[in-house]
């Protein structure tokens, strides 16, 4: 997948989408399982993960997204 051309949004559609507001309701999740979002923002935890590739990409994400 890495060799593909970057997807570009046509200008007309992009203009439409900039006007859209994406809404997420706080009580909507069903709670039958959690998403470990906080855990994977925890640098110490990620360092101990078996997945070394994920660790490398975590570094990229921190740098590119300024987290």
């Amino acid at each position: 997948m890495s060799a593909k051309q970057p997807l570009k949004i046509p200008r007309v559609i992009l203009e439409e989408m900039t006007k859209e507001v994406r809404i997420v309701l706080p009580d909507e999740t069903r709670g039958l399982f959690p998403l470990p979002i906080d855990l994977l923002k925890n640098e110490a935890f990620v360092r101990n993960l078996a997945d070394k590739e994920f660790q490398a990409n975590f570094d990229v994400a921190i740098i590119s997204k300024g987290r």
Binding site: M1, S2, K4, P6, L7, I9, P10, I13, L14, M17, E20, R22, I23, V24, L25, P26, D27, E28, T29, R30, G31, L32, F33, P34, L35, P36, I37, D38, L39, L40, K41, N42, F45, L49, A50, D51, E53, F54, N57, V60, A61, S64
Partner: protein, 352 residues
């Protein structure tokens, strides 16, 4: 692995619904779990399916959630599967009602035998508390804190806040961090269809216009069915677009690759099911649309759309509509930053 995968991305997490057995039978249980239920995921299948999930797209899926029923009902199975999932690189979470946390010491001792579970979600609410005292929840959370483990508390509430719900939230905040408590609304499917009055749900003419966050995480059931979310759609018996496939006849890779190009699923994630209603109106089936919806309930819009057998041929048409698929593709990129998973959509010519 693509560098942009973040929590909330499609397939960041996958769920395994291991058992319908539970120590209790709550009146609001969506999967109708209980002590009388027998069906569990066979061990050989569970190991194979977890391995398939770990191998999917070179380790693209990062987290694995073990749920039920009550997964602590069979500790040996829970230990075997969580250890295996962890050994394959997954971040492992599990969900429990906390029945086993009869004291803090008991809870600590048990959790120490489950070292591969990184995050535990404890469910409690007015319905659970008929069977599991709040003391168990406190014991389990204090044990998790002592062990340095991450936790969350899932609280199901009725459509309108009750005094009982508000009291419970106050009690929980005595020993749990507020940001670890997540609430969800009961929905009249599963056992709740028989036990909860639908009159308590405020109805409105306009559907919720909110996006769905749970359809990013498919769930594998004991019989091999893979469903696109863990919400009310899991109770729909007839074929629909969130029923992603059957592991008895296909590999997980085949099912998930097809899901990557499922424009209905991704429209629900990007904008919400109301967007499908709008498109269905455009292609001329407005007279078949539901006349009312539960207030502020995205699941209700989705459930009404997918459970109405008359609408499924139109939804199938929409799924194969090139303009609809294109818009969904651009919506994923603009709103969710998901470009990396779009390649199959172009190569398969929208054959979803």
């Amino acid at each position: 692995m693509d560098e942009d995968i973040t929590p909330g991305s499609f397939l960041f997490n996958i769920g395994f619904m291991l058992t319908y057995k539970c120590t209790i039978a709550c009146p609001h249980c969506i999967v109708e779990a209980g002590p009388h239920r027998k069906k569990v995921m066979r061990m050989d299948r569970a190991l194979s399916w977890i391995e398939q999930a770990a191998k999917y797209n070179n380790g693209y899926i990062k987290a694995c959630a073990l749920t039920g029923g009550e997964v602590f009902h069979d500790i040996d199975t829970l230990r075997t599967l969580s250890d295996y999932a962890h050994s394959l690189g997954f971040v492992v979470s599990a969900v429990t009602n906390g029945f086993w946390a009869t004291s803090k010491r008991t809870a600590i001792n048990l959790l120490k035998t489950l070292p591969s579970i990184h995050l535990l979600c404890v469910s409690t609410d007015a319905y659970h508390q008929r069977f599991i005292p709040l003391a168990n929840i406190r014991n389990s959370i204090e044990a998790l804190k002592d062990l340095g483990l991450t936790y969350s508390i899932a609280v199901c509430k009725d459509a309108e806040d009750t005094q009982q719900f508000r009291d419970l939230m106050c009690h929980l905040k005595d020993f749990a961090d507020e940001d670890k408590i997540v609430t969800s609304k009961t929905f009249p499917v599963g056992r709740a269809r028989h036990h909860l009055s639908q009159e308590g749900f405020p109805m409105v003419a306009e559907p919720s216009r909110a996006a769905c966050t749970m359809a990013s995480s498919p769930v594998v059931f004991p019989d091999g069915q893979v469903v696109g979310c863990i919400g009310p759609a899991i109770t729909i018996q007839s074929p629909h677009k969130l029923l992603l496939g059957d592991l008895k006849t296909e590999s997980l890779e085949e099912i998930l690759q097809r899901a990557e190009t499922n424009a209905i699923l991704h429209t629900i994630r990007v904008w919400g099911p109301y967007r499908i209603l709008e498109w269905l109106n455009r292609i001329g089936c407005s007279e078949k649309m539901p006349s009312s919806y539960m207030k502020d309930c995205t699941c209700d819009v989705c459930y009404k759309l997918l459970s109405d057998e008359r609408l499924q041929p139109y939804i199938e048409l929409l799924a194969n509509n090139e303009e609809f698929a294109e818009r969904t593709k651009y919506g994923r990129l603009y709103h969710l930053g998901e470009e990396e998973v779009l390649q199959p959509l172009e190569s398969q010519h929208f054959l979803t």
